[in-house]
Symmetry: T
Subunit: 63 residues, 12 copies
């Protein structure tokens, strides 16, 4: 059975890279990740520049 | 009159490239594409790495 | 108090760059931007190629 | 079986007329239209006046 | 206390007239209607022409 | 850069006219309005008759 | 004029049967039911087994 | 490339059977159907009994 | 305190059975399941026939 | 069978109190109220101060 | 014409107080505030305790 | 990396207190909670009085 885990990935470069980071992090503890779904895209700004792209991602794995 | 067609674009690189692939594919059969709207961002994972970014896109063309 | 301003950023390269452009533009008049939220991703197409990635972004600043 | 086709209707007069135009246009190629659903209402403006009311409409027909 | 009642109004002319018809009908049995909210806009089509504009409306009244 | 401003337009006649009034009012202070999006349709009722059609509209302009 | 009534139907067997039960129950007091829309699907569980499928349903009738 | 087609399936028995009918019907003209998504569940009623379960389904195929 | 876990249940027979399978699977590791909520209904197709009904379900348990 | 009734509760103190007022009011005519769901939180303001917190609430009762 | 401004109110005590703070802050620069709508409720936590309730609020005023 | 956990908090007093209880409970097992988001507000009623305010909350922590 697939289980969904919701996490937040971050990157200085962009949204795709933030998802990549989220999946990599989940992969450290969950071995059978199959797919992901982006549920939110945000980010934080410092002195007028984007400091961090943030994505909320649901990652599906089989336990 | 604009008509919307909903397709799924994929890319190994990122979401923007996946949209690009979707639009290119629709452009093979529809000549007058004007705009697109992203409705979903997902992807699949293999051995802890993103294998494919997937975007669901509504593409608007004039027939 | 945070205030949200909703703007549209554009880029020829991708969605992340379009957000970047939106934040940079808001930063010209608002000094204390803290975060942003993407609310829509669209784009326009010319002769079968993406001419512009467009993001609708809510930018939060303190006045 | 009903199939839904999504199109954009436009009118200088109003939203109801824009739906009317969308249905008339779809009726040129689809003979058995039964119902429609409005999914979006927008429009464009020129020199401070509404130039065009636009409705996104899902039109249901039997092929 | 306001109570919401959800009804469907119809008109051959347009959406605004369909809301008007819905409110008039509710007014036959509820005396203190204060406001309404449109929740859906649809319609049915016959021989390529709109036969009926339909609006789903929540009507708020005080009993 | 486009900026979105959200306003409420009203009319005794209908929703399209309420949008028209909203756009006209925004046009008094913003010179470069390009498009609008309807986000809500409501209204108020007095003695069983619609007193006012109300539309919440996001108006996009370039500053 | 159609009026919508929102009810919750339940069944030990499945969602379709729960809708069936909801419609049957409404039919005891409302004579002219025409259609229904499912707005939510839930259920309760006891000792690891589904005890009840629950559907929230809007039922449309003419009074 | 996957393309989504939106159709309405019906059944006298239940929602799952209505999806089954929708997929079977699409399969008559589209050879490579891969998956589907349910977007709406409705139905019509006659003399207090459900006459038809209806599902709106997006069916994804490769052309 | 209730905790929600989101999982995907599958069945060859229908959506209700897919929920049943999801709840049974969660029940192997969580003893106090109280209720569930369906958040998505999808499925996959092979050679024009539904191979698997899939439901995304939030299952609520007390730890 | 549960039936949902949608009402608006108000309070000068806060949202929780506004729900309380709504439930109390419904309880005057409906004896078997079981649960409620908040669907909207608004309020009105007079001379820069909140005059009334308003909640739209669906109240479930057994008739 | 009503204009909506979206702001974030905060409070150590609760959501209603956070809305109160948001309205008070907007009232410093906008004289004719009429109503507000809550669009999001969040908060931040420090050492296991809620440090701040946060509400995103659309405040309607007449300029 | 932030992980989101979805729980239900309850209180006899109000929604803010229910969130407080949810966060306190999560804090017993998760040490680094940073923020929360309210996703649903409900409650149960007994003999015409609110017995329990319930909030569904997503709590974000770093593991």
């Amino acid at each position: 059975m697939f289980q969904m885990i919701e996490v937040i990935g971050v990157s200085k470069e962009g949204f795709s890279q933030a998802v990549d980071q989220a999946v990599s992090d989940v992969a450290k503890t969950k071995k059978n990740i199959h797919f992901f779904e982006v549920t939110e895209q945000r980010g934080c700004v410092h002195e007028g520049k984007i400091k961090e792209f943030q994505v909320k991602v649901k990652v599906a794995f089989i336990e």
